[in-house]
């Protein structure tokens, strides 16, 4: 039985579910099956880290995505693994009651709790665009972050601003990293991110007592280390130059590459093609719609969906030597100057000498 605190969800969770989760996590992290018992053991431990989950400018999609995680019912499992002290969606309480709960939790677990942030934080007009319980999101974040151990920013909104930050960004929405500078921050961008990216990060931390390797934007490398383009099942079509040009045309029906329709796979980092979403493990390209780069700041909600993506590297099979490779040397300015100087000096010397010579024979 789960010990649930005022939760709407009640489920039976047994050992098998822990094992299933461990297997999934091992796969997502790219670790060998030898780690599964370790994960399972960590999950079963009773000393659970306290988690405070704040919501700001968000649609709650990230929470919902977590709740929709299937096989096993991971929401239930994870809620048995962590001690969720504050969550506006999942808690039955409301109003002053829940606010008191928040402050009590902050006090009790001071310095030790993990802060999960979902949603962007508006900064214009002193942050008045998002107020909860009479406090701006900005103040709320600063207050709760003060005594936390670490921050996980889940979703693109909390990671870099997400959809609220798309131009002209009237509320000045930014990600957590723009506001809090003195705490370790892991970002799990996506709209929503696969719940397994979040879950694997947490389980990794529980098992190994440290966070997985992060890139310079704070994203776990196991999930965001490679371009979607480099894992896409339609990549061979891109390399061979086979593209869909319109929705429903022959190329589209043949399942050709969607680059010409604006797929942002070449400029977005993520693992969507690898692990997919939902029970069928599908993802947008899989069902015929170009990726729009929801993970990547400056791409998702920034470039228009059908605008062609930048392709940072050409695929090797597309690179053939041309018949004539021109090997131009652009002359250096110094060299040109030197040549000019030499010719100039020679010409001047000749002219000067000629001037000195008698024009006609002296009698």
């Amino acid at each position: 039985m789960i010990r649930s605190k005022n939760l709407f969800v009640e489920k039976e969770v047994g050992r098998r579910d822990f094992l299933k989760l461990s297997t999934k996590v091992a796969t997502v992290l790219g670790l060998s099956p030898a780690f599964i018992p370790q994960f399972s053991h960590a999950l079963e431990k009773k000393d659970k880290p306290a988690v405070i989950w704040l919501h700001f400018q968000e649609c709650t999609g990230c929470t919902e995505s977590l709740l929709r995680a299937e096989g096993p019912d991971l929401a239930a499992v994870i809620l048995d693994v962590i001690s969720l002290e504050y969550h506006e969606t999942l808690f039955a309480a409301a109003g002053h009651q829940i606010e008191d709960q928040l402050h009590a939790a902050m006090e009790r677990y001071k310095g030790n709790y993990v802060l999960v942030v979902e949603g962007a934080i508006p900064t214009k007009a002193d942050g008045h665009y998002c107020m909860i319980g009479g406090k701006t999101a900005l103040d709320s974040l600063k207050e709760v972050a003060k005594d936390c151990a670490a921050i996980i920013a889940i979703g693109s909104c909390a990671s870099w601003g997400g959809i609220p930050s798309s131009g002209p960004n009237p509320t000045g929405a930014v990600g957590v990293g723009e506001i809090i500078k003195d705490k370790p921050i892991v970002t799990i961008p996506g709209c929503p991110p696969s719940p397994y990216n979040f879950l694997s990060t947490v389980v990794h931390y529980l098992t190994f007592a440290k966070l997985p390797a992060l890139d310079d934007l704070g994203r776990p490398k196991f999930a965001y280390g490679r371009l979607i383009h480099d894992q896409c099942e339609r990549r061979a079509h891109f390399d061979a130059g086979r593209f869909a040009h319109e929705f429903g045309d022959e190329g589209h029906r043949e399942g050709y590459c969607l680059y010409q329709l604006g797929c942002k796979g070449p400029s977005t980092y993520g693992n969507c093609p690898e692990i997919g979403f939902n029970r069928e493990k599908t993802w947008p390209v899989n069902v015929g719609h170009p990726c729009f780069g929801c993970i990547e700041s400056k791409v998702g909600f920034n470039k228009s969906i059908h605008e062609l993506s930048e392709v940072p590297f050409a695929a090797p099979p597309q690179v053939y030597a041309k018949i004539e490779e021109t090997g131009n040397t652009t002359p250096s300015l110094v060299a040109v100057g030197a040549v000019g100087a030499v010719v100039g000096v020679a010409a001047t010397a000749v002219a000067m000498k000629a001037k000195k010579l008698p024009g006609s024979e002296e009698e």
Binding site: P316, V319, Y320, A321, I323
Partner: protein
């Protein structure tokens, strides 16, 4: 005295101009030894219509000859853009109004090579079986071979403080001994490039032209170009578009050597002129001593 000398000098001058101008009049080489194709000369036949651009030949060549990996300017691994001191054999792609075709470029092992003729220290030689070989111990690095090769094949290690010339040598010290054929022909999955004696390959090429005339341009490139090459080409795309230059039917080496031999054969002409000049100088000197 004066008149005699003047006539003598006029005679020499006339002879000199006449000799040098004779190519102008005859229009062709006064070749004494134009190299010809021998029945045991080996070479390759490359059929561009069969090539799929898989580049196995590039990979096999690098492996067999221990050549280092070359990067494309954008940093792509193992993607040479042209022949170089690291790449002896390359596949190039042509896309144009006539269609798409690949072309394999490497040393053509010409029948009468410009490089062999021009090399001052015998570093490049045409062996008994027709392979054009390179000897680094003879080479002085003057790079004349680079200037005179009509196909721009020899490449020099400019960034080495004591560099060598690099070019395809038909794997003569590696695959040719081990497998009886060069690495590229052994690796080709479609048989687009095959190895054999040039005379047989030429017959095969002509047979293919006869059997499927619509598939090819009716010409075997290398049969006569530049005096003939040991590597022959068949293609559906015009050869010039594939980067194979439109050369006359004689080798430039035969033209140049023709003039060279006419002027200097056995150093007779220079010796005669020398003797004449020395005699005049001697006579003048005796005259001057009375100054």
């Amino acid at each position: 005295m004066k008149i005699k000398r003047r006539n003598f000098l006029k005679g020499i001058a006339g002879a000199g101009v006449g000799v040098a101008a004779s190519p102008l009049l005859t229009g062709k080489a006064l070749a004494s030894e134009v190299k010809k194709l021998k029945p045991n000369h080996v070479g390759m036949l490359y059929d561009a219509t069969k090539c799929i651009g898989c580049k196995s030949c590039e990979v096999a060549c690098k492996k067999a000859n221990n050549m280092p990996i070359e990067y494309d300017p954008a940093g792509i691994y193992d993607a040479p853009r042209d022949l170089s001191e690291k790449t002896l054999n390359i596949i190039k792609l042509y896309k144009g109004p006539e269609g798409t075709s690949f072309v394999k470029r490497q040393c053509m092992h010409c029948v009468d090579p410009n490089c062999v003729s021009g090399c001052p220290t015998s570093a490049l030689n045409k062996t008994e079986n027709g392979i054009v070989t390179y000897d680094k111990d003879a080479c002085c690095g003057c790079r004349y071979c680079q200037m005179n090769c009509p196909f721009n094949i020899p490449k020099f290690e400019f960034n080495d403080f004591y560099g060598e010339i690099k070019k395809c040598e038909l794997c003569r010290t590696t695959s040719l001994i081990k497998d009886g054929q060069p690495a590229c022909t052994a690796a080709c999955p479609t048989g687009a490039v095959i190895f054999g004696t040039v005379t047989l390959l030429l017959a095969e090429a002509k047979q293919r032209l006869k059997d499927s005339p619509g598939d090819y341009i009716d010409h075997v490139y290398g049969e006569f170009e530049g005096g003939g090459t040991s590597v022959l080409y068949l293609s559906k795309i015009p050869f010039e578009k594939l980067g194979l230059p439109n050369l006359p039917d004689y080798s430039q080496a035969s033209l140049s050597e023709g003039i060279q031999h006419t002027l200097y054969q056995g150093l007779i002409a220079p010796a005669v002129i020398y003797a004449g000049l020395a005699a005049i100088a001697f006579k003048n000197r005796s005259g001057k001593e009375e100054d």
